[in-house]
């Protein structure tokens, strides 16, 4: 039994075999700089009123695609054909993300575009990132669940370190669901202590000045169609910050 790699690379995988992912097939398919004045796409949330106020610092905000997947249709959820968010409500976010370019490319590569997409919005200030927003757009037919977020900064060439020694992991207090036909946003900011399940505080900014290979990983569990069975699958959406 073969199935398509759930992380949206379009690679075929087999049970008992690992998926061969081309290291140059980066899931980042759209990068757009937007003016930070007047807010950014990463601050909107239609699934929750806990969007918070973690504003971005700096002049430019970059939004990148961290990957996408196609959650399976499962009993108990809508079984209507998957609709892909375009312009119009709640497509405000998509206007920023350049979805048409992405979908066109995804359609060519995989026949069917991912329905659950994860985007990262961040502002770079003198080689440091103080605030991040992770937007999950679920246009699929079943929900996803946040497992955790991990921030890693590997001093080149070795040792992981978010603070000193290990990656930082953010595990939510309660279940964070990404419901079908909804857009949800999570915020990670520097020293912004909060008990809001959509806001996470990191002890210091992420260093992307060149001596670190920093990355953000969002782990989400979705129901995935493996061809013969539908099973839950934890999927990592990863973005490696570019370094000079």
């Amino acid at each position: 039994v073969r199935y398509i790699d759930p992380t949206g690379h379009g690679t075929e995988c087999g049970f008992g075999e690992s998926c061969v992912v081309d290291p140059y097939t980066n899931p980042i398919l759209s990068i757009k700089k937007v003016n930070n004045n007047g807010g950014s796409a990463g601050t909107s949330s239609s699934s929750s009123d806990e969007s918070g106020s973690a504003g971005n610092r700096g002049n430019n905000t970059e939004t990148v695609h961290m990957g996408g997947t196609i959650p399976a249709e499962i009993p108990g959820f809508s079984t209507q054909d998957q609709e892909y968010l375009g312009t119009g409500s709640p497509g405000q976010v998509f206007d920023v993300f350049g979805e048409l370019f992405y979908y066109q490319k995804a359609f060519t590569a995989h026949k069917k575009p991912p329905a659950l997409n994860v985007y990262l919005t961040y502002a770079l200030t003198q080689g440091e990132i103080h605030n991040l927003s992770i937007t999950v757009v679920n246009a699929g037919a079943s929900s996803g669940t946040l497992n955790f977020i991990e921030i890693d900064a590997k001093p080149l060439p070795s040792i992981n370190s978010c603070i000193q020694g290990e990656p930082c992991t953010f595990i939510p207090r309660k279940t964070v669901s990404f419901d079908p036909k909804n857009i949800s946003t999570l915020h990670i900011c520097t020293e912004c202590l909060s008990d809001n399940i959509n806001i996470y505080s990191m002890p210091k900014p992420i260093d992307v000045k060149g001596s670190y290979q920093s990355s953000v990983m969002v782990s989400i569990t979705v129901h995935y169609d493996f061809g013969r069975t539908v099973a839950r699958q934890s999927i990592p959406f990863v973005y490696n910050f570019p370094y000079p």
């Binding site: 998926c19 497992n147 955790f148 992981n160 990656p167 930082c168 992991t169 595990i171 996470y200 505080s201």
Partner: protein
């Protein structure tokens, strides 16, 4: 002929002693959690991260009750290792900056990252214990689950 008999006898003695060790092993382990109801309403399963060679993996905790379950990530999630007839704990290298108190909805699940501080080719035992909430109040009865995970470097 006599030599063969000795060999067979040696084989059975070894087998019996191993069985004895295993039963002691489980008996001893159950004493650590004798006040907890294990593997009934809480179930554990594992998922290795495909792209991770650092030994990190995720444990799925399924709550089979309709009530909300709560546990502490730092103190209620334990990693055990059995060696030389002794159970020892292994620390978890995950630096969790999120919440330490983790809730699982009724009939819900959570996938939690684990990074045991051992890179040996061994089998570890993951244990999660906690309490249920009923009518907004935390019950005293302890519930939990354990399952074995083989670390393959």
């Amino acid at each position: 002929m006599k030599k063969s008999l000795y060999l067979i006898l040696f084989f059975f003695v070894t087998l019996l002693s191993c069985t004895g060790l295993d039963s002691n092993k489980e008996e001893e382990f159950s004493r650590f959690y004798d006040s907890c109801e294990m593997n009934t309403l809480i179930k554990l399963s594992f998922e290795k991260r495909k792209s991770d060679n650092d030994g990190r993996f995720d444990v799925y905790i399924d709550n089979l009750s309709i009530q909300e379950f709560v546990f502490s990530y730092s103190s209620d999630l334990e990693i055990w290792y059995f060696d030389n007839s002794i159970w020892s704990t292994v620390s978890n290298n995950i630096k969790n900056l999120g919440s330490d108190e983790l809730y699982i909805d009724g009939n819900g699940f959570r996938a939690i990252p684990i990074n045991p501080s051992t890179n040996k080719n061994i089998t570890i035992r993951i244990v999660v214990t906690g309490n249920y909430y009923e009518n907004g109040l935390q019950e005293n009865q302890c519930f939990g689950a354990f399952a074995d995970y083989s670390i393959t470097p």
